[in-house]
């Protein structure tokens, strides 16, 4: 009997024996990474479909003539800055400084809200100019369809991120605060930033 117990203990102590995380993370952080990986594939599919449609279109509208590039660059700046502030919020939470963490979180949320405001402004302008999912004044219908679907999906992610961060900030302000929770919300927020890096480069600049 003794040897069985020793055997069990040996298995539990091994990397994949079930006794500890093989990835060296908490379960919640690992789940967040799995979610990010699957979500990244969704956006990869969108961007690849966009590339495909753009290749088979006879011509593609010039982005600089359709979009307000100053606004888009400002939106990129806001998202990168809020990502940097979010990283600082995680550092503050890890250093057991909830007050500072809440302050950084609020700044991150403000950055996200400014981004969403700019996007609402951009969408309103383009819709007023006649852009729809099915047709648009600048060229192939796929142009506006890709624009609305890709930036819309990304914008929805930003909105979800702001909501999650608001909940995390509220909980931190109430003292129900865990550094792991802040870090997981931060991982999601950085992922939203990563997606925007792709959208900015391949939809607006290329």
């Amino acid at each position: 009997m003794d040897s069985t117990i020793a055997e069990q203990q040996r298995i539990l102590a091994s990397d994949w024996g079930g006794g500890k995380s093989p990835f060296g993370t908490s379960w919640s952080k690992f789940m967040m990474w799995i979610f990010i990986i699957s979500d990244a594939l969704t956006f990869a599919a969108f961007l690849i479909a966009y590339g495909f449609m753009r290749r088979i279109s006879p011509e593609w509208p010039k982005q600089t003539e359709v979009f307000n590039m100053v606004l888009i660059t400002f939106m990129t700046f806001m998202l990168i800055s809020s990502s940097a502030v979010m990283a600082m919020a995680v550092a503050a939470a890890r250093a057991s400084n909830p007050k500072l963490a809440v302050r950084f979180l609020v700044l991150t949320i403000v950055g996200g809200l400014i981004f969403l405001g700019c996007q609402a402004f951009e969408w309103t302008n383009l819709i007023e100019e006649g852009a729809r999912l099915t047709h648009n004044p600048w060229g192939v219908p796929q142009f506006a369809a890709a624009f609305f679907v890709i930036t819309g999906f990304h914008g929805f992610h930003v909105f979800s991120g702001v909501t999650i961060l608001a909940i995390v900030a509220l909980r931190a302000a109430m003292g129900k605060y865990s550094a792991d929770g802040v870090e997981n919300a931060g991982l999601y927020w950085h992922f939203v930033d990563v997606v925007w890096v792709f959208v900015f480069a391949f939809f607006y600049l290329l």
């Binding site: 990835f23 990244a40 006879p58 990283a87 192939v140 219908p141 950085h190 290329l206």
Partner: protein
């Protein structure tokens, strides 16, 4: 600030520097976007700046450089799968033009 905590204490200064370099890379991407060069070269350069940016964000903001190697490797899965999806669909656009989209 975090020096009493753990082995990998990234300071606020590191984050500020990272933020600065991300802005530099964004400016670089903008510059590439606005120069009138061959489309393929432009696409290649944009892929380079984008990869540089996501690597910086993942390594420092998402703390990936302090994670175990197996976690780092699985985060590359979407990138590999995306390249496969891309390389299996994109050649279709290179041959005949029978499925070109019409402009209304």
């Amino acid at each position: 600030m975090a020096e009493h905590h753990d082995q990998h204490s990234i300071t606020y200064k590191t984050y500020l520097m990272t933020w600065f370099w991300l802005l530099v890379l964004t400016a670089l991407a903008l510059g590439v976007g606005y120069t009138s060069i061959d489309e393929r070269l432009k696409a290649f350069l944009l892929v380079c700046t984008t990869l540089a940016k996501i690597l910086v964000i993942a390594a420092i903001f998402m703390h990936l450089r302090y994670e175990r190697i197996n976690l780092i490797l699985i985060t590359f899965a979407p990138l590999v799968l995306a390249v496969i999806l891309f390389s299996f669909t994109f050649p279709e656009t290179l041959g005949s033009v029978t499925h070109l989209i019409r402009v209304r």
